[in-house]
Protein backbone atom coordinates (compact mmCIF):
# COMPACT_ATOMS: atom_id res chain seq x y z
CA UNK A 1 0.00 0.00 0.00
CA UNK A 2 1.20 3.45 -0.89
CA UNK A 3 1.91 6.11 1.66
CA UNK A 4 0.83 9.62 0.77
CA UNK A 5 2.17 12.77 2.38
CA UNK A 6 -0.89 14.91 3.13
CA UNK A 7 -1.98 17.68 5.48
CA UNK A 8 -4.59 16.83 8.12
CA UNK A 9 -7.29 18.91 6.46
CA UNK A 10 -6.72 17.17 3.13
CA UNK A 11 -6.65 13.77 4.85
CA UNK A 12 -10.13 14.35 6.28
CA UNK A 13 -11.38 15.39 2.85
CA UNK A 14 -9.88 12.41 1.06
CA UNK A 15 -11.02 9.92 3.72
CA UNK A 16 -14.57 11.28 3.62
CA UNK A 17 -14.73 11.01 -0.16
CA UNK A 18 -13.43 7.43 -0.02
CA UNK A 19 -16.01 6.67 2.68
CA UNK A 20 -18.71 7.76 0.26
CA UNK A 21 -19.48 11.25 1.55
CA UNK A 22 -22.16 12.32 -0.88
CA UNK A 23 -22.88 15.85 0.24
CA UNK A 24 -20.56 18.42 1.81
CA UNK A 25 -21.45 21.98 2.74
CA UNK A 26 -19.05 24.37 4.43
CA UNK A 27 -18.01 27.92 4.94
CA UNK A 28 -14.36 29.07 5.06
CA UNK A 29 -12.57 29.72 8.34
CA UNK A 30 -8.92 29.34 9.31
CA UNK A 31 -7.41 26.84 10.20
CA UNK A 32 -9.75 24.44 8.35
CA UNK A 33 -9.91 26.26 4.98
CA UNK A 34 -7.90 23.59 3.19
CA UNK A 35 -10.60 21.02 3.95
CA UNK A 36 -13.33 23.06 2.27
CA UNK A 37 -10.91 23.79 -0.57
CA UNK A 38 -10.13 20.08 -0.98
CA UNK A 39 -13.81 19.19 -1.07
CA UNK A 40 -14.52 21.88 -3.66
CA UNK A 41 -11.96 20.35 -5.99
CA UNK A 42 -12.45 16.65 -5.35
CA UNK A 43 -16.19 16.23 -4.82
CA UNK A 44 -16.87 17.36 -8.38
CA UNK A 45 -14.50 14.77 -9.83
CA UNK A 46 -16.69 12.04 -8.30
CA UNK A 47 -19.95 11.65 -10.11
CA UNK A 48 -23.11 12.46 -8.20
CA UNK A 49 -21.33 14.13 -5.27
CA UNK A 50 -22.39 17.58 -4.17
CA UNK A 51 -20.20 20.37 -2.82
CA UNK A 52 -21.76 23.62 -1.68
CA UNK A 53 -19.95 26.62 -0.28
CA UNK A 54 -22.78 27.82 1.91
CA UNK A 55 -23.42 31.48 2.70
CA UNK A 56 -22.81 30.83 6.40
CA UNK A 57 -22.00 28.10 8.90
CA UNK A 58 -25.66 27.99 9.91
CA UNK A 59 -26.70 27.31 6.34
CA UNK A 60 -24.06 24.60 5.99
CA UNK A 61 -25.23 22.61 9.02
CA UNK A 62 -28.87 22.89 7.96
CA UNK A 63 -28.01 21.85 4.41
CA UNK A 64 -26.34 18.68 5.64
CA UNK A 65 -29.32 18.00 7.93
CA UNK A 66 -31.59 18.20 4.90
CA UNK A 67 -29.34 16.02 2.77
CA UNK A 68 -29.06 13.48 5.62
CA UNK A 69 -32.85 13.34 5.89
CA UNK A 70 -32.94 12.56 2.17
CA UNK A 71 -30.52 9.67 2.79
CA UNK A 72 -27.14 11.11 1.76
CA UNK A 73 -23.84 10.57 3.58
CA UNK A 74 -23.03 14.09 4.74
CA UNK A 75 -20.25 16.16 6.25
CA UNK A 76 -19.60 19.76 7.25
CA UNK A 77 -16.56 21.36 8.84
CA UNK A 78 -15.54 24.54 10.58
CA UNK A 79 -13.36 25.94 13.33
CA UNK A 80 -14.30 27.12 16.82
CA UNK A 81 -16.34 30.35 16.23
CA UNK A 82 -18.03 28.69 13.27
CA UNK A 83 -18.87 25.66 15.42
CA UNK A 84 -20.72 27.90 17.87
CA UNK A 85 -22.96 28.96 14.99
CA UNK A 86 -23.68 25.34 14.07
CA UNK A 87 -24.93 24.28 17.50
CA UNK A 88 -28.66 24.75 16.88
CA UNK A 89 -28.36 22.59 13.79
CA UNK A 90 -26.43 19.89 15.65
CA UNK A 91 -29.08 19.78 18.36
CA UNK A 92 -31.71 19.47 15.65
CA UNK A 93 -29.82 16.62 13.92
CA UNK A 94 -29.48 14.78 17.23
CA UNK A 95 -33.19 15.23 17.93
CA UNK A 96 -34.18 14.11 14.43
CA UNK A 97 -31.69 11.22 14.63
CA UNK A 98 -29.92 12.27 11.45
CA UNK A 99 -26.46 10.80 10.76
CA UNK A 100 -23.72 13.22 9.77
CA UNK A 101 -20.06 14.03 10.36
CA UNK A 102 -19.09 17.42 11.76
CA UNK A 103 -15.43 18.43 11.84
CA UNK A 104 -14.09 21.03 14.27
CA UNK A 105 -10.48 22.12 13.68
CA UNK A 106 -10.19 24.05 16.93
CA UNK A 107 -8.48 27.43 17.30
CA UNK A 108 -7.88 29.82 20.18
CA UNK A 109 -10.98 31.25 21.88
CA UNK A 110 -13.26 32.38 23.41
CA UNK A 111 -14.91 34.72 20.94
CA UNK A 112 -13.01 35.19 17.70
CA UNK A 113 -9.82 34.44 19.63
CA UNK A 114 -7.02 33.64 17.20
CA UNK A 115 -6.12 31.02 14.62
CA UNK A 116 -3.52 29.03 16.59
CA UNK A 117 -4.14 25.44 17.77
CA UNK A 118 -6.22 25.13 20.97
CA UNK A 119 -8.48 22.67 22.79
CA UNK A 120 -10.99 25.03 24.37
CA UNK A 121 -14.03 23.48 22.68
CA UNK A 122 -13.96 20.26 24.73
CA UNK A 123 -16.99 21.23 26.82
CA UNK A 124 -18.94 22.40 23.78
CA UNK A 125 -18.18 19.17 21.92
CA UNK A 126 -18.69 16.64 24.72
CA UNK A 127 -21.58 18.25 26.59
CA UNK A 128 -23.78 18.53 23.55
CA UNK A 129 -23.02 22.16 22.74
CA UNK A 130 -26.53 22.99 21.63
CA UNK A 131 -29.70 22.99 23.74
CA UNK A 132 -31.58 20.00 25.05
CA UNK A 133 -30.75 16.52 26.32
CA UNK A 134 -28.48 15.10 23.69
CA UNK A 135 -24.93 13.87 23.12
CA UNK A 136 -22.66 13.68 20.12
CA UNK A 137 -19.99 11.05 19.65
CA UNK A 138 -16.68 12.93 19.71
CA UNK A 139 -13.52 11.47 18.14
CA UNK A 140 -10.11 12.99 18.90
CA UNK A 141 -7.35 11.87 16.50
CA UNK A 142 -3.67 12.58 17.26
CA UNK A 143 -1.99 11.70 13.95
CA UNK A 144 -2.84 12.16 10.28
CA UNK A 145 -3.16 8.37 10.02
CA UNK A 146 -5.74 8.40 12.78
CA UNK A 147 -7.54 11.28 11.05
CA UNK A 148 -7.85 9.07 7.97
CA UNK A 149 -9.11 6.04 9.92
CA UNK A 150 -11.42 7.90 12.30
CA UNK A 151 -13.01 10.00 9.54
CA UNK A 152 -14.12 6.78 7.87
CA UNK A 153 -15.25 5.32 11.21
CA UNK A 154 -17.17 8.52 11.99
CA UNK A 155 -19.51 7.91 9.05
CA UNK A 156 -20.15 4.35 10.24
CA UNK A 157 -20.83 5.47 13.83
CA UNK A 158 -23.21 8.14 12.53
CA UNK A 159 -25.20 5.59 10.52
CA UNK A 160 -25.11 2.87 13.16
CA UNK A 161 -26.55 5.13 15.86
CA UNK A 162 -28.31 7.66 13.61
CA UNK A 163 -26.63 10.55 15.32
CA UNK A 164 -24.22 13.36 14.48
CA UNK A 165 -20.56 12.48 15.08
CA UNK A 166 -17.89 15.09 15.68
CA UNK A 167 -14.23 14.94 14.78
CA UNK A 168 -12.42 17.23 17.21
CA UNK A 169 -8.92 18.22 16.13
CA UNK A 170 -6.98 21.48 16.21
CA UNK A 171 -5.06 23.83 13.92
CA UNK A 172 -1.87 21.83 14.33
CA UNK A 173 -3.57 18.60 13.22
CA UNK A 174 -5.26 20.39 10.33
CA UNK A 175 -2.11 22.05 8.98
CA UNK A 176 0.49 19.36 9.66
CA UNK A 177 1.51 16.91 6.93
CA UNK A 178 2.27 13.25 7.71
CA UNK A 179 2.36 10.08 5.63
CA UNK A 180 -0.97 8.21 5.57
CA UNK A 181 -2.35 4.99 4.17
CA UNK A 182 -6.08 4.97 3.45
CA UNK A 183 -7.87 1.80 4.55
CA UNK A 184 -10.66 0.25 2.53
CA UNK A 185 -13.96 1.69 3.74
CA UNK A 186 -16.76 -0.69 4.70
CA UNK A 187 -19.87 -0.51 2.49
CA UNK A 188 -22.60 1.72 3.89
CA UNK A 189 -25.36 0.09 5.93
CA UNK A 190 -28.23 2.49 6.35
CA UNK A 191 -31.80 1.31 5.92
CA UNK A 192 -33.94 3.12 3.41
CA UNK A 193 -36.81 3.34 5.90
CA UNK A 194 -35.01 6.22 7.62
CA UNK A 195 -34.69 8.24 4.41
CA UNK A 196 -37.18 10.70 2.99
CA UNK A 197 -37.41 9.71 -0.66
CA UNK A 198 -40.86 10.98 -1.60
CA UNK A 199 -43.92 9.02 -0.47
CA UNK A 200 -44.95 7.89 -3.96
CA UNK A 201 -48.08 5.83 -3.46
CA UNK A 202 -47.21 4.88 0.13
CA UNK A 203 -47.79 6.62 3.44
CA UNK A 204 -46.10 9.97 3.94
CA UNK A 205 -43.15 10.10 6.35
CA UNK A 206 -42.00 12.85 8.68
CA UNK A 207 -38.67 13.67 10.26
CA UNK A 208 -39.11 16.42 12.85
CA UNK A 209 -38.09 17.43 16.33
CA UNK A 210 -41.07 19.61 17.26
CA UNK A 211 -42.96 17.49 19.79
CA UNK A 212 -45.58 19.70 21.39
CA UNK A 213 -47.04 16.97 23.60
CA UNK A 214 -44.68 16.76 26.61
CA UNK A 215 -45.36 13.07 27.09
CA UNK A 216 -44.30 12.36 23.51
CA UNK A 217 -41.26 14.61 23.98
CA UNK A 218 -40.34 12.90 27.24
CA UNK A 219 -40.59 9.50 25.61
CA UNK A 220 -38.36 10.73 22.77
CA UNK A 221 -35.81 12.05 25.26
CA UNK A 222 -35.66 8.71 27.07
CA UNK A 223 -35.33 6.90 23.77
CA UNK A 224 -32.32 9.06 22.92
CA UNK A 225 -30.90 8.58 26.43
CA UNK A 226 -31.09 4.79 26.05
CA UNK A 227 -29.25 5.08 22.75
CA UNK A 228 -26.52 7.16 24.42
CA UNK A 229 -26.21 4.49 27.11
CA UNK A 230 -25.60 1.83 24.48
CA UNK A 231 -22.95 4.03 22.83
CA UNK A 232 -21.29 4.64 26.21
CA UNK A 233 -21.18 0.92 26.86
CA UNK A 234 -19.85 -0.15 23.46
CA UNK A 235 -17.87 2.55 21.77
CA UNK A 236 -15.11 3.92 23.98
CA UNK A 237 -11.63 4.08 22.47
CA UNK A 238 -8.33 4.95 24.11
CA UNK A 239 -4.58 4.37 23.89
CA UNK A 240 -2.38 3.42 26.82
CA UNK A 241 1.33 4.12 26.42
CA UNK A 242 4.05 3.08 28.88
CA UNK A 243 1.56 2.63 31.74
CA UNK A 244 2.66 -0.87 32.84
CA UNK A 245 5.38 0.28 35.23
CA UNK A 246 4.28 3.93 35.60
CA UNK A 247 4.16 5.87 38.87
CA UNK A 248 2.40 8.71 37.13
CA UNK A 249 0.11 8.81 34.10
CA UNK A 250 -0.48 11.85 31.90
CA UNK A 251 -4.01 12.14 30.52
CA UNK A 252 -4.06 14.08 27.24
CA UNK A 253 -5.75 13.91 23.83
CA UNK A 254 -4.98 15.02 20.28
CA UNK A 255 -2.05 17.41 19.86
CA UNK A 256 -1.41 17.62 23.61
CA UNK A 257 -1.04 13.82 23.72
CA UNK A 258 1.72 14.08 21.10
CA UNK A 259 3.52 16.70 23.17
CA UNK A 260 3.06 14.45 26.21
CA UNK A 261 4.65 11.50 24.39
CA UNK A 262 7.68 13.67 23.64
CA UNK A 263 7.86 14.64 27.32
CA UNK A 264 7.53 11.00 28.44
CA UNK A 265 10.61 10.01 26.44
CA UNK A 266 12.64 12.74 28.15
CA UNK A 267 11.24 11.93 31.61
CA UNK A 268 12.02 8.22 31.23
CA UNK A 269 15.55 9.06 30.12
CA UNK A 270 15.85 10.73 33.50
CA UNK A 271 14.47 7.74 35.38
CA UNK A 272 10.94 9.04 35.93
CA UNK A 273 8.35 6.37 35.24
CA UNK A 274 5.62 8.28 33.45
CA UNK A 275 3.01 6.90 31.07
CA UNK A 276 0.16 8.23 28.94
CA UNK A 277 -3.57 7.61 28.84
CA UNK A 278 -5.01 9.05 25.64
CA UNK A 279 -8.79 9.12 25.21
CA UNK A 280 -9.64 8.71 21.51
CA UNK A 281 -13.38 9.01 22.10
CA UNK A 282 -13.94 12.11 24.24
CA UNK A 283 -17.62 11.24 24.43
CA UNK A 284 -18.16 8.57 25.45
CA UNK A 285 -15.18 9.16 27.74
CA UNK A 286 -13.20 5.94 28.44
CA UNK A 287 -14.06 6.24 32.11
CA UNK A 288 -13.86 2.56 33.10
CA UNK A 289 -10.43 2.07 31.57
CA UNK A 290 -9.04 5.17 33.25
CA UNK A 291 -10.51 4.16 36.61
CA UNK A 292 -9.01 0.70 36.26
CA UNK A 293 -5.56 2.30 36.10
CA UNK A 294 -6.13 3.98 39.44
CA UNK A 295 -6.06 0.56 41.14
CA UNK A 296 -2.27 0.64 40.73
CA UNK A 297 -1.38 4.23 39.86
CA UNK A 298 -2.06 7.00 42.34
CA UNK A 299 -0.82 10.06 40.47
CA UNK A 300 -2.41 11.45 37.33
CA UNK A 301 -1.47 14.57 35.39
CA UNK A 302 -3.96 16.18 33.02
CA UNK A 303 -2.48 18.27 30.20
CA UNK A 304 -4.68 20.28 27.84
CA UNK A 305 -4.46 23.29 25.53
CA UNK A 306 -7.19 24.88 27.67
CA UNK A 307 -7.71 26.05 31.25
CA UNK A 308 -8.93 22.58 32.24
CA UNK A 309 -11.98 21.02 30.62
CA UNK A 310 -11.27 17.32 30.14
CA UNK A 311 -9.97 17.65 33.70
CA UNK A 312 -13.63 17.41 34.82
CA UNK A 313 -14.08 14.06 33.08
CA UNK A 314 -10.84 12.75 34.59
CA UNK A 315 -12.08 13.75 38.06
CA UNK A 316 -15.42 12.05 37.42
CA UNK A 317 -13.66 8.92 36.21
CA UNK A 318 -11.15 8.71 39.07
CA UNK A 319 -13.74 9.57 41.75
CA UNK A 320 -11.11 10.68 44.23
CA UNK A 321 -9.22 7.37 44.08
CA UNK A 322 -6.07 9.11 42.86
CA UNK A 323 -4.33 12.47 43.03
CA UNK A 324 -4.68 14.73 39.96
CA UNK A 325 -2.38 17.56 38.84
CA UNK A 326 -3.04 19.84 35.88
CA UNK A 327 -1.11 21.91 33.35
CA UNK A 328 -2.91 23.96 30.70
CA UNK A 329 -1.93 26.38 27.92
CA UNK A 330 -5.10 28.04 26.56
CA UNK A 331 -5.61 30.63 23.84
CA UNK A 332 -3.46 29.13 21.09
CA UNK A 333 -0.20 28.73 23.01
CA UNK A 334 1.43 25.37 22.26
CA UNK A 335 4.18 24.30 24.67
CA UNK A 336 7.14 22.18 23.65
CA UNK A 337 7.81 18.70 25.04
CA UNK A 338 10.76 20.30 26.90
CA UNK A 339 8.47 22.70 28.78
CA UNK A 340 6.04 19.94 29.70
CA UNK A 341 8.96 17.78 30.81
CA UNK A 342 10.06 20.46 33.29
CA UNK A 343 6.55 20.96 34.67
CA UNK A 344 5.97 17.23 35.13
CA UNK A 345 9.40 16.61 36.62
CA UNK A 346 8.66 19.14 39.36
CA UNK A 347 5.32 17.52 40.21
CA UNK A 348 6.74 13.99 39.95
CA UNK A 349 9.49 14.71 42.44
CA UNK A 350 7.09 16.48 44.81
CA UNK A 351 4.65 13.55 44.79
CA UNK A 352 7.43 11.01 45.15
Amino acid sequence: MNKTLMSGNHVIGEASIRAGCHFYAGYPITPQNELTEYMSEHMRSNEGRVFIQAESEISAINMIAGAAAAGARVMTSSSSPGMSLKQEGISSMAACELPGVIVNIMRGGPGLGNIRPAQGDYFQATRGGGHGDYRTIVLAPATCQELADLTMDAFDFADKYRTPVMILADGMMGQMMEPVIFKKPTPRQYPEKFMLRGAGTGKSKFIRALLLDPIDAEEHNWKLARKYEVITKNETLCEEYNVEDADMVIVAYGTSARIAKGAIKRLRDNGMKVGLFRPITLWPFPEQKLRALSAKIKNFFVFELSTGQMLDDVRLALQGYAHIDFHGRPGGAVPTPAELTNVIARVYNKND
Binding site: S7, G171, M176, M177, P179, A260, V334, P337
Partner: protein, 179 residues
Protein backbone atom coordinates in the same frame (compact mmCIF):
# COMPACT_ATOMS: atom_id res chain seq x y z
CA UNK B 1 17.60 9.31 15.57
CA UNK B 2 15.57 12.47 15.05
CA UNK B 3 16.37 15.53 12.91
CA UNK B 4 14.43 18.75 12.81
CA UNK B 5 14.88 21.45 10.20
CA UNK B 6 13.33 24.89 9.78
CA UNK B 7 13.06 26.50 6.33
CA UNK B 8 12.25 30.19 6.27
CA UNK B 9 12.10 33.11 3.85
CA UNK B 10 9.79 35.52 2.05
CA UNK B 11 6.46 34.21 0.82
CA UNK B 12 7.15 33.27 -2.81
CA UNK B 13 10.71 32.04 -2.38
CA UNK B 14 9.52 28.45 -2.28
CA UNK B 15 10.34 27.67 1.35
CA UNK B 16 7.27 25.47 1.80
CA UNK B 17 8.29 23.54 -1.32
CA UNK B 18 11.74 23.00 0.20
CA UNK B 19 10.10 21.51 3.29
CA UNK B 20 7.54 19.33 1.52
CA UNK B 21 10.10 17.96 -0.92
CA UNK B 22 12.44 17.03 1.94
CA UNK B 23 9.58 15.46 3.91
CA UNK B 24 8.47 13.52 0.85
CA UNK B 25 12.00 12.30 0.18
CA UNK B 26 12.42 11.16 3.78
CA UNK B 27 9.05 9.39 3.65
CA UNK B 28 10.15 7.55 0.49
CA UNK B 29 13.25 6.53 2.39
CA UNK B 30 11.07 4.87 5.03
CA UNK B 31 11.39 7.47 7.79
CA UNK B 32 8.63 8.85 9.99
CA UNK B 33 8.10 12.48 9.00
CA UNK B 34 6.04 15.50 9.94
CA UNK B 35 5.78 18.77 8.04
CA UNK B 36 4.33 21.79 9.81
CA UNK B 37 3.87 25.05 7.86
CA UNK B 38 3.50 28.44 9.45
CA UNK B 39 -0.02 29.52 8.76
CA UNK B 40 -1.97 32.58 9.59
CA UNK B 41 -3.05 36.02 8.59
CA UNK B 42 0.16 36.52 6.62
CA UNK B 43 0.70 39.58 4.47
CA UNK B 44 2.25 39.61 1.00
CA UNK B 45 6.01 39.88 1.29
CA UNK B 46 5.83 38.60 4.86
CA UNK B 47 7.78 35.62 6.07
CA UNK B 48 6.81 32.02 5.49
CA UNK B 49 8.40 29.11 7.27
CA UNK B 50 7.97 25.43 7.87
CA UNK B 51 9.37 22.77 10.16
CA UNK B 52 10.24 19.26 9.04
CA UNK B 53 10.90 16.45 11.51
CA UNK B 54 12.47 13.19 10.35
CA UNK B 55 12.96 10.19 12.63
CA UNK B 56 13.29 6.44 12.69
CA UNK B 57 10.56 6.27 15.35
CA UNK B 58 7.18 7.88 16.00
CA UNK B 59 7.50 11.70 16.08
CA UNK B 60 5.91 13.24 19.15
CA UNK B 61 5.93 16.94 18.43
CA UNK B 62 6.12 18.45 14.93
CA UNK B 63 7.44 21.68 16.45
CA UNK B 64 11.19 22.28 16.66
CA UNK B 65 12.29 24.11 19.79
CA UNK B 66 15.93 23.37 18.91
CA UNK B 67 16.25 22.59 15.20
CA UNK B 68 19.37 20.76 14.01
CA UNK B 69 19.21 22.55 10.65
CA UNK B 70 18.11 26.04 9.69
CA UNK B 71 17.74 27.21 6.11
CA UNK B 72 17.17 30.94 5.70
CA UNK B 73 16.37 32.59 2.41
CA UNK B 74 16.13 36.18 3.71
CA UNK B 75 17.68 38.28 6.48
CA UNK B 76 14.63 38.56 8.82
CA UNK B 77 14.51 34.74 8.96
CA UNK B 78 18.14 34.60 10.04
CA UNK B 79 17.45 36.99 12.92
CA UNK B 80 14.23 35.21 13.91
CA UNK B 81 15.59 31.70 14.05
CA UNK B 82 19.38 31.61 14.44
CA UNK B 83 19.25 31.47 18.23
CA UNK B 84 16.90 28.49 18.20
CA UNK B 85 19.40 26.26 16.41
CA UNK B 86 20.89 23.52 18.57
CA UNK B 87 24.57 23.77 19.47
CA UNK B 88 26.62 22.11 16.71
CA UNK B 89 23.66 22.66 14.38
CA UNK B 90 23.95 23.81 10.79
CA UNK B 91 22.73 27.04 9.18
CA UNK B 92 22.37 27.51 5.42
CA UNK B 93 21.87 31.07 4.26
CA UNK B 94 21.06 32.65 0.94
CA UNK B 95 24.07 34.95 0.61
CA UNK B 96 22.73 36.53 -2.58
CA UNK B 97 20.43 38.73 -0.52
CA UNK B 98 21.64 38.25 3.07
CA UNK B 99 24.69 40.40 3.73
CA UNK B 100 24.81 39.57 7.46
CA UNK B 101 26.25 36.34 8.83
CA UNK B 102 25.16 34.25 11.80
CA UNK B 103 26.33 35.58 15.16
CA UNK B 104 26.56 32.01 16.49
CA UNK B 105 30.06 30.58 16.85
CA UNK B 106 28.86 27.13 17.95
CA UNK B 107 27.16 26.23 14.68
CA UNK B 108 28.40 25.37 11.20
CA UNK B 109 27.24 27.96 8.64
CA UNK B 110 27.17 27.71 4.85
CA UNK B 111 26.64 30.80 2.72
CA UNK B 112 25.17 29.75 -0.62
CA UNK B 113 24.59 32.50 -3.23
CA UNK B 114 21.59 30.57 -4.56
CA UNK B 115 19.95 33.67 -6.06
CA UNK B 116 23.01 34.42 -8.18
CA UNK B 117 23.49 30.82 -9.21
CA UNK B 118 19.83 30.71 -10.24
CA UNK B 119 20.34 33.82 -12.34
CA UNK B 120 23.30 32.17 -14.07
CA UNK B 121 21.11 29.16 -14.80
CA UNK B 122 18.56 31.50 -16.36
CA UNK B 123 15.69 30.93 -13.91
CA UNK B 124 15.59 32.86 -10.64
CA UNK B 125 12.78 30.67 -9.35
CA UNK B 126 15.05 27.67 -8.80
CA UNK B 127 17.04 29.37 -6.01
CA UNK B 128 15.26 27.14 -3.48
CA UNK B 129 16.24 23.95 -5.30
CA UNK B 130 19.87 25.12 -5.48
CA UNK B 131 19.74 25.57 -1.71
CA UNK B 132 18.26 22.08 -1.37
CA UNK B 133 21.24 20.73 -3.33
CA UNK B 134 23.56 22.20 -0.71
CA UNK B 135 21.28 21.05 2.13
CA UNK B 136 21.03 17.45 0.93
CA UNK B 137 24.80 17.22 0.41
CA UNK B 138 25.65 18.47 3.89
CA UNK B 139 22.80 16.83 5.83
CA UNK B 140 22.93 13.51 4.01
CA UNK B 141 19.41 12.75 5.27
CA UNK B 142 18.36 11.28 1.93
CA UNK B 143 20.28 10.48 -1.22
CA UNK B 144 20.15 12.93 -4.15
CA UNK B 145 18.35 10.30 -6.24
CA UNK B 146 15.53 9.83 -3.76
CA UNK B 147 15.23 13.57 -3.24
CA UNK B 148 15.01 14.33 -6.95
CA UNK B 149 12.47 11.58 -7.50
CA UNK B 150 10.31 13.05 -4.72
CA UNK B 151 10.64 16.51 -6.16
CA UNK B 152 9.47 15.24 -9.52
CA UNK B 153 6.48 13.46 -8.04
CA UNK B 154 5.45 16.60 -6.14
CA UNK B 155 5.82 18.80 -9.19
CA UNK B 156 3.67 16.18 -10.93
CA UNK B 157 1.99 17.29 -14.12
CA UNK B 158 4.01 20.47 -14.59
CA UNK B 159 5.89 21.11 -17.81
CA UNK B 160 8.64 18.69 -18.74
CA UNK B 161 11.36 21.36 -18.74
CA UNK B 162 10.77 21.91 -15.03
CA UNK B 163 12.25 18.57 -14.02
CA UNK B 164 15.34 19.28 -16.10
CA UNK B 165 16.02 22.75 -14.73
CA UNK B 166 15.40 21.42 -11.21
CA UNK B 167 18.02 18.71 -11.72
CA UNK B 168 20.50 21.28 -12.97
CA UNK B 169 19.73 23.62 -10.09
CA UNK B 170 20.06 20.80 -7.55
CA UNK B 171 23.43 19.76 -9.01
CA UNK B 172 24.68 23.36 -8.93
CA UNK B 173 23.87 23.68 -5.21
CA UNK B 174 25.22 20.21 -4.48
CA UNK B 175 28.55 21.02 -6.15
CA UNK B 176 28.80 24.51 -4.67
CA UNK B 177 29.37 23.29 -1.10
CA UNK B 178 32.69 21.50 -0.78
CA UNK B 179 33.15 18.08 0.78
Amino acid sequence: MIFKAIFSGFGGQGVLMMGTSLAHGAMSNGYHVTFLPSYGAEIRGGTANCTVAIADEEIASPVASEPDYLVVMNAPSLFSFQNKVAAKGVIFLNSSIISERSSRSDVQAYAVPCGDIAQDLGNTRVANIIMMGAFIKKSGIVTPDIYLKSLESIMGGRKKGVAEINRKAFAAGFDYVKD
